[in-house]
Symmetry: C2
Subunit: 340 residues, 2 copies
């Protein structure tokens, strides 16, 4: 059975990530796709493979016969619908944080821990966008010399908050240019013309849940439960693509040139690092790309076993839709989907 016949459902199809999921499925040759969403979006038409999909309201019977279901509809809806889809024999690939830390749910970045897929019991979690792009270079370093401690500061784009985040940034930039006050609602504070050091919600520790996702998800994906990780997550007035400044204490000293080679050999990762020609990754280079880009690779001024780099990826693609479709691809290739 070719990919074109596999029965796929996308829940949350009208959202920023859902639309990219449809596009990635289309590009990958999947054709038997059903678009699901809440009642509010039912009836909307979405372009797909030269035709259109009519969005259906999600109901228990929506998953009848579905072999793989991609979810991007938030944690609450995932908690509600994943057990139902799974019950009916679909494998759920979920983009919310609802299942990620469940010990029975694999948390997968296919280039990093594909072997984790086999243990799934019907639900596979897609990691957080900011985590996915960071674990690619970390895994390359872990394999070579081991890693001991990670400190990361993020420069995350508005689209991480969905289409409403993009819309609010655009409206904010128009207001800023016109000399008006910048409106805000999706973001806790006005984003246009500023940085907001607050993504998600605050926990008692003073960290946000977004920052703690980077801590706990990184440990789980890399199977390094004691890895020291700390993150500061900051929203920047950029529409799409997340950027991160990463510091890693390694198990052994390596030269920057050796790190560049390790990164270049890592699937999914591309090195853009020719500083003397102003070549380093930026958001505008990564929009619409599957690759994660790494640059500004350098050894610490004083610590030979510490490396710094800058890692950039399209948060809607490798950070969400593309990683989910890669998981579906891997399941398909492994014969891990039930017969239709």
């Amino acid at each position: 059975m070719g990919r074109e016949s596999v029965k796929v459902a996308v829940l949350g199809a009208t959202g920023a990530v859902g639309r990219e999921m449809l596009r990635e499925l289309e590009l990958g040759g999947w054709r038997n796709v059903r678009a699901l969403a809440s009642a509010r979006s039912a009836g909307q038409r979405l372009p797909f493979a030269g035709g259109e999909l009519v969005v259906e309201e999600v109901r228990p019977e929506s998953f009848a016969g579905v072999q793989v279901a991609l979810f991007s509809a938030g944690g609450d809806r995932s908690k509600q619908w994943a057990p139902i889809a799974k019950e009916q024999g679909a494998v759920v690939i979920d983009n919310s944080s609802a299942w990620r830390m469940d010990p029975e749910v694999p948390l997968v970045v296919p280039e990093v821990n594909p072997d984790a897929l086999a243990a799934h019991r019907g639900i596979i979690a897609n990691p957080n966008c900011s985590t996915i792009q960071m674990v690619l270079p970390l895994e390359a370093l872990r394999r070579a010399v081991g890693i001991e401690r990670v400190v990361v500061s993020t420069y995350q784009s508005a689209s991480g908050a969905g289409q409403q985040g993009v819309d609010e940034l655009r409206a904010g930039l128009r207001a800023l240019v016109a000399g008006h006050e910048v409106p805000h609602r999706t973001f806790a504070r006005p984003l246009a013309g500023d940085c907001v050091p607050h993504i998600g919600s605050f926990e008692a520790s003073g960290y946000t849940n977004e920052e703690l996702k980077m801590v706990y998800e990184t440990r789980k994906i890399l199977s390094l439960p004691a890895l020291e990780v700390s993150a500061t997550c900051v929203r920047v007035p950029v529409e799409r693509v997340h950027q991160e400044a990463v510091t890693v204490d390694l198990g052994a000293a390596i030269e920057a040139e050796e790190a560049r080679r390790l990164f270049a050999e890592m699937p999914g990762l591309e090195v853009l690092d020719v500083p003397e020609r102003n070549v380093y990754p930026m958001a505008r280079d990564a929009v619409g790309r599957h690759e994660t880009y790494v640059g500004r690779i350098r050894r610490d001024v004083t610590r030979p076993a510490t490396l710094h780099f800058w890692v950039v990826s399209d948060n809607l693609l490798k950070g969400a839709a593309w990683n989910a479709v890669q998981i579906a691809d891997a399941l398909y290739d492994q014969g891990g989907l039930r017969e239709a």
Copy 2:
């Protein structure tokens, strides 16, 4: 002799920092001020203390009788003119990087190392903007428990590249909103709608000189020559005020609450840290303010002797003009200016 009679010269008076120097001098009650610049700007009129200053072309005789000269005209002009001004008896307070690492030149943040002033031989250096705002909280921690290692990622505004940086960002935002390509010249890559991980020029180590300033200046100001410091300096599409995510390994474990108390007691520093009410420092809070703001104060998830915080300050004021005028004030108060 009151401040109003002290003979002051400002070299680079028409630049973004020079204008702020005039404003700070005005607010501080200095009145006998001469505005100097290159021939190109001579004849320009700048508002000052209810009247106007006519900008004069800098010449050797410009410094005759001058008691204190504030320089913000770039490294080359500083190398050229500081010896001449000093020769004529002025104390030069220089905002460029030209003299900062000279062992005979004190590098001063008045709240941190005022005692260093006494050793000057006619030239005192103002540290780099990104360094100044970071050493305030670092000094508070150093005094209490000692500090061992600092990792910082910066979110630096366009005005760090002067008025031309501000103008380029504004033009870029207008282009972005209109759907046109973003022009660039001052910045190595287009800044509007993106982040540029490149400030200053690249060195063989892969660091930029801006990043290395943060390393070496921090060590000198804190008199900690072996302090481990590493920086990643990133330009963000914000007009004014620099923001920084700082990680510090301390000499001993402290609670976040204790750090908050230490920061609140540090002169020049103000704590804005009530996350549950979305209170943390942002650029818009700091524009036009002398204070440096600190928030997002938290202990590391796993390392009790590691602290993270977010520090925000107006790069044109505490990062440049205000720190320079504070130094002039300190010299005046100590009787450290020659007789007129």
